[in-house]
Amino acid sequence: MKRFLAASLLAAALPLAAQDTRKEIQRYQQMIADGSPVELFELEGETLWKKPQGPRNISLEKCDLGLGPGVLKGAYARLPRYFKDADRVMDLEARLLHCMTTLQGRSREEATKRVFGNENEPSEMEYLSAYVAAQSRGMKMAAGTSHPKEKEAFELGRAMFFHRAGGWDMSCASCHGEEGKRIRMQDLPVLSKPEFARPIVATWPAYRVSNSQFKTMQWRINDCYRQMRYPEPKFASDATIALSTYLAVTAAGEPYRGPGTKR
């Protein structure tokens, strides 16, 4: 009984402001999620998925995201995974790029000219990611873990997560390594632990209210390295896919709840 009493006294002793602040921030996050325009991006993504494009003037409706050509339901929840036709582990954006080049006959250079959009003109990848991810809502996330290349991607991703380099000697763990920490008002989930990785990975890609932009996982990784004072990760490169494989596998089992709405 004494330990319980001590613990509750300790909890009360926490500066009330800090407790309230965290509670209020969570309330804010809940309210912006309720009133989020993210569904508008799903609508535009559907239009693009069905729009014939490229030299072959073909839509993406036959693109195989891992569950068979054109199968959308639950496909995102199983990514990243190994694809035999490309002999490579791919995340959603890498796979969409593959379909743009193979099905639509577009050059990689043209298809990756503008992979990150802005609030006035979101990119194709952003619209498509919103639409495809939405088709996995409610399904348990299960990124690939059985193929040797999937294991390789996971191990490489884990090593990258703790690898310190760049202008500020940082690794992902520098910020995402200790429980209960914040950057300014932004809580920092320990992404190497399943219980903290699950709610996060389950809500990417996401609409960010702060700049009214829809952001993908490739952008999230790109922008973290920018702020860690590294040079730029190449879009959909093995390194970026290894890191998102590590995060997705760490979060496995969580029902996908995205596309999310974030600060």
Binding site: K151, A159, G180
Partner: protein, 191 residues
């Protein structure tokens, strides 16, 4: 890359050299963020391989080396705390989106509490509220604060605090203004 793994068996854990090779292949320079930044120096390599728990003897040696990189300016190290507050608020500097040569910031509020008026502060680093009021502002504490900002690894090898002076993010003048923010009695931090 192939040598990296014994095909079919559970992959051998990936070591720092392997990750560095991958970064050199899959990253590209942009703006002022050049590729030399993915080549680990001794501090980064030892801290990565020891998971930020370096052997004490080795840590002492490397901290001593890092201390030599700090050129302490002559005289008082206390600058202008008002400018220090602006530097502490500024999260830019050294990124590929920052113009080379443009004045960077210390990003201090990302990780620390400083002036009581700023409610949006981070908690990765300890609160520095009333730092000068409790530590005084004599030459020794001025030197410690200046050195710690210039190169935090000279005092704690695997600290998460960036080497703000050593990396070129902040100039000596800017660091003296941050020292003022922490130690000047008239700074809000010490009110």
């Amino acid at each position: 890359m192939k040598a990296l793994f014994v095909l079919g068996l559970i992959p051998v854990a990936v070591c720092a050299q392997d990750v560095q090779k991958v970064l050199q292949r899959d990253f590209q320079p942009r703006g002022q963020a050049t590729m030399d930044r993915v080549v680990q120096d001794g501090v980064q390599r030892v801290c990565t391989e020891s998971n930020d728990r370096p052997p004490a003897q080795l840590a002492k040696q490397l901290e001593a080396d890092q201390l030599k990189t700090i050129a302490f300016p002559q005289g008082s190290l206390i600058g202008d705390w008002k400018n220090g507050e602006r530097i502490a608020q500024n999260g830019r500097g050294g990124q590929w989106t920052d113009a080379p040569g443009a004045a960077g910031g210390g990003s201090c509020y990302n990780c620390h509490q400083l002036s009581p008026q700023e409610a949006s502060f981070g908690t990765l680093g300890p609160s520095l509220l009333r730092f000068g009021a409790t530590r005084g502002n004599g030459p020794e504490i001025q030197r410690y604060v200046y050195g710690k900002i210039y190169n935090a690894k000279a005092y704690n090898l695997c600290s998460q605090m960036p080497r703000l002076g050593y990396s070129g993010t902040l100039t000596p003048e800017q660091i003296k203004d941050l020292v003022a923010l922490l130690l000047d009695p008239s700074s809000p931090v010490n009110k």
